[in-house]
Symmetry: C2
């Protein structure tokens, strides 16, 4: 049996050496994030992940969430208790505003903690994650009364939250939302409609559930400019904050999914008995705008799920490869007996591929989290803007790329197990099933790729993209100019990737108007170029830091050498794809559209 | 609901224009494979796949095979009847020797038919597939009596066969097989031991099951040179051919797998009650040698599973993309309403990627099947040898590459469905789960890659590899020299891939002794280079044939233009990876081994 161990050494290295925890902790309001406090928090989170969440992961998958005849949902054994403990330990409010009971820690710190939840039990973790979305919505645009009524209980975890966007005919296309909301004389609204794919839309954890619902008022304009956001609590909350009358919202079925079985994915029906009572959040017709502001955080979280699932797959496959004795490895002593498969070169390649992707996407995510902290709290407005521009560019990369490589990583993790990987009891298959959702929800990879092309590259004329490429080039120059010759090939590969990326940006800018369809047919390649280059860049920075530490005789030398080795592997194995993808981007788009639809 | 339709137009095009069916039908013994006969067979097979097998695929997945308390196994509803109809229609003996009731058709023809079984119901199809292995073993090295006793009933399908290789401590490493076989005075053997992962080791289809079992005699040498092959029937067969006494072999459990739920994967226990009666096949200690001869066919079949699963995923995702209305596609008329997602450029990229991989791997497989027919039946021994050398080189590519790209293809197919893809009822998720076994059984991708490096490239000093590269270069020259300018970029990309492949072969030959571990750490990249180049080559040949047809005003012009479009897409999008992988192969291997195992 493999047991999850939080990769604390790597997390600390990334936070301190690469994401600038020290600087983040000096931002106004983050003074409590001192190194010893952060270390203690991570230790405790690691314990909770290992001792409480990880052991529930497989049983939760087997038992799954069940809808009961009365419309309620029963979560698997142990999940409710784990949730109560999670809240009692204060994990739910880690990065939330202290004004309503949160601990106000930097996003960078909560990122490391959340990675542990993603690794140890994704299906459990989705409930706090969705609550987080509801908290943000209310915090952002709720009235003072709404904040007072809902935030303390959502932040403590006494209630949970959901996000209701999708409808059967409106998946990614929110313009097609049809749920109706009619204003009542008392200022509340009556909602009616059906929402699908609602994560933890119903469950047995808490006394109330606060649904955030996108709907359309009768006189609203067509399309996305006519969508409003509403709070629809399961039990209508009295002025004193206590849940009262049952609202007209029901979980009418739950989905039978490929994975994340313990997380109920609900069809929610509003207004079957006359109309669900809802309360407008912010102003009418601005719902989509609010969603977009929150979307960054949600997309970041899902990208981090990719990192967390990858880490878990890595640990599991390394553990198996150490134990499993099979055959004599090529090129080792011929006289030796059969050895552990970790010594087989092809197994080593698989493990290193997993490791390099996971470590690379981890640094990209943590550095982005630090940028989000700076964008919110930096005293200098110009610095806030430039951090925000960086984070805006990186969000589709964190979401799109980390989840796409997670598919490869969990599949490789299963492959390392050979036939045993195909058996559910082994546990590797669950990660394949669970991770498969991450490239879909919170905007598919295609949507991330279009966002990276349209809003993040073309809209500012490539300014943010070129600023990052400039940084990548600087890192490449440091690597090639390093006294440590083992870093030179990393610098060379990174420099080549940066050139390919520059060409790609120029081509996208030049072609986006004249050849819009070809550009968008290549957008996924453009996203992958960015993802690989960003990971290679951050692993290059990691190698530079490790090399400095080695030269100064600081830290764990074996850890530092492994960092350099991982960067070298990434540069030799994964970075060459960037230039090849650049050619595909520039020449492949038109060919993707050549065969007419009716001939497919 | 998506319904499987056999891609008959493409199958005929590939068989006739690219795999040389006409020439194969002139080989001695294949005279019956006239074009009209072949067309009629394919029509009938397509009907059976669509009307009988495809409708059982999803119910079979949901119900799964169940082990009963008495040790029997119940297959899902409808499977036994489908099996009986399958045998009654003569599908079981399609390419088997007429001497014992088979129809003796070329492998090329049975390949097209088998692809349909793989597409429509992989879990069903595994039973005939394993029976085929048993038939080959007995046909190859069985005594005349054994042939007479077993072959007619295995070929008719009255009995089924299994292959028992794997043991808990011996997965890919058959040297570690421990099952014991002790010779008895009557010439039979008593077997005792445990075999795992035995496909259809027990079921309710037939009155008898013929197990082919690898075991070790008491005085056998250590390792792979001490393994013998035995027939162990479930019911001991009397001289008159009727099943008699129940043998001492039991299905002691079945596995709970990620996919292929309808196919029982059994733990088989031999000799718990004193010893199972077995009969030596061929000579003692030559079991592994026999296995290796059969392995080509089994590996080819699993590679073809990758093609078949990919085709089914393609059809399903195209059908969904045509129906699903969502958003306005980029670059189309701004005034238009939301349209089907098939018009979204990123969806088109996904569909084209699936299509290009499926069509490419299909041609490679069919051309290899024709080579196997020629290797067996060509009157000229030199021609037989050169066809065999080609097939030997291609087998690990068909197995390794078709199944690896199948993982990407079924995952893309799911992605096209968005959130619906994650719901089991949609059906796309089953293909992801079912296909995941194909890179594992009959030798993992790592084993195929090592085979391609060691036995298929290094052993003959690169002769077979260079001969194929020469052919690829000729095709590239035809493309670049074609009067049809749309083929020129295909030729250029193919030529570049050929050069990269040539360098890779030279590097493998040079380094395999001095840097064995680095070469094997890059073997998977070498395999992928070959897979992509072979697909690109065959699609290039397809484009040439289509262009000729268009010029001569023959055939369906839209089909021919789509062929050219698919080749152009493959050349622009997938072939550039070959050169990038070449760099990875030559520089990445050492770095995969740099981080020491204890640091992983």
């Amino acid at each position: 049996m493999s047991t999850y161990r939080a990769p604390l050494a790597d997390m600390h290295f990334v936070m301190n050496e690469l994401a600038g925890l020290e600087q983040v902790a000096q931002l106004p309001g983050f003074e409590e994030a001192a190194p010893d406090v952060v270390a203690a928090i991570l230790e405790e989170a690691a314990k909770f992940a290992t001792e409480v969440l990880d052991p529930l992961n497989r049983p939760g998958d087997v038992e799954g969430a069940r809808r009961l005849d009365d419309g309620g949902v029963r979560t698997p054994a142990g999940f409710k208790q784990a949730y109560e403990q999670f809240c009692a330990n204060g994990w739910n409010g880690l990065a939330k505003t202290p004004e309503f009971g949160g601990q106000g820690l930097p996003h960078l710190v909560s990122t490391a903690v959340e990675e542990m939840w993603h690794s140890s039990n994704l299906a459990f973790d989705l409930c706090p994650l969705l609550t987080q979305g509801a908290i943000e919505a209310i915090d952002l645009v709720g009235s003072p009364e709404q904040k007072q009524l809902y935030l303390p209980k959502l932040i403590s975890g006494e209630w949970t939250g959901t996000m209701n966007l999708t409808e059967p005919q409106a998946g990614s296309d929110l313009a097609a939302v049809r749920t109706r909301a009619v204003r009542q004389p008392d200022g509340s609204y009556r909602l009616a409609g059906t929402k699908i794919f609602i994560t933890y839309g119903e469950h047995d954890y808490t006394a109330n559930i606060v649904h955030l619902v996108l709907a359309r008022t009768p006189d609203a304009p067509e399309g996305v400019r006519g969508i409003s956001l509403f709070i629809v609590p399961k039990f209508i909350v009295g002025a004193d904050g206590s849940p009262g009358e049952r609202n007209d919202v029901q979980c009418t079925s739950i989905e039978n999914k490929l994975g994340i079985h313990a997380s109920p994915t609900c069809v929610m029906t509003y207004g079957e008995k006359g109309g669900a009572t809802g309360y407008l959040v912010g102003e009418e017709n601005r719902g989509l705008e609010y969603m977009f502001i929150m979307m960054n955080a949600a997309r970041f979280s899902v990208g981090l799920e990719g990192v967390g699932m990858g880490e878990r797959a890595y640990q599991r496959s390394v553990a198996y490869a150490r134990e499993r004795v099979q055959g004599r490895a090529v090129g080792l002593d011929r006289a030796s007996k059969a050895g552990a498969i970790i010594d087989h070169p092809d197994v080593r390649r698989m493990l290193m591929t997993i490791r390099a992707h996971v470590e690379g996407t981890r640094v990209v995510a943590y550095v982005t989290a630090a940028a989000l902290d700076n964008a919110r709290r930096h005293p200098d407005p110009a610095a806030r803007r430039s951090h925000q521009a960086f984070a805006d560019l990186m969000i589709p990369i964190v979401k799109g790329h980390s989840t796409e490589v997670a598919q490869e990583v969990v599949s490789l993790g299963l492959q390392v197990h050979g036939g045993m990987g195909y058996i559910e009891e082994t546990g590797a298959a669950q990660y394949l099933r669970d991770a498969r959702i991450t490239t879909i929800y919170e905007g598919t990879t295609g949507i991330q790729a279009n966002d990276l092309v349209g809003r993040k590259t073309v809209r500012d004329g490539g300014a943010a993209a070129r600023a990052v490429i400039g940084e990548i080039e600087k890192t490449a120059a440091h690597l090639t100019g390093s006294a440590d010759a083992s870093l030179h090939p990393v610098g060379a590969a990174l420099s080549e990737a940066a050139v390919a990326l520059e060409d790609a940006v120029a081509w996208v800018l030049k072609s986006s108007a004249s050849h819009a369809r070809a550009v968008h047919a290549g957008a996924a390649h453009y996203l992958r170029m960015w993802g690989l280059a960003a990971s290679g860049w951050q692993l290059g920075r990691a190698a530079l830091a490790a090399s400095r530490k080695l030269a100064a005789d600081e830290g764990d030398a074996a850890f530092m050498r492994a960092k350099i080795g991982t960067a070298r592997f990434f540069a030799a194995t994964l970075l060459p794809q960037v230039a090849a993808l650049g050619r595909t981007l520039m020449h492949g788009g038109e060919t993707a559209l050549e065969v007419p639809a009716e001939q497919l």
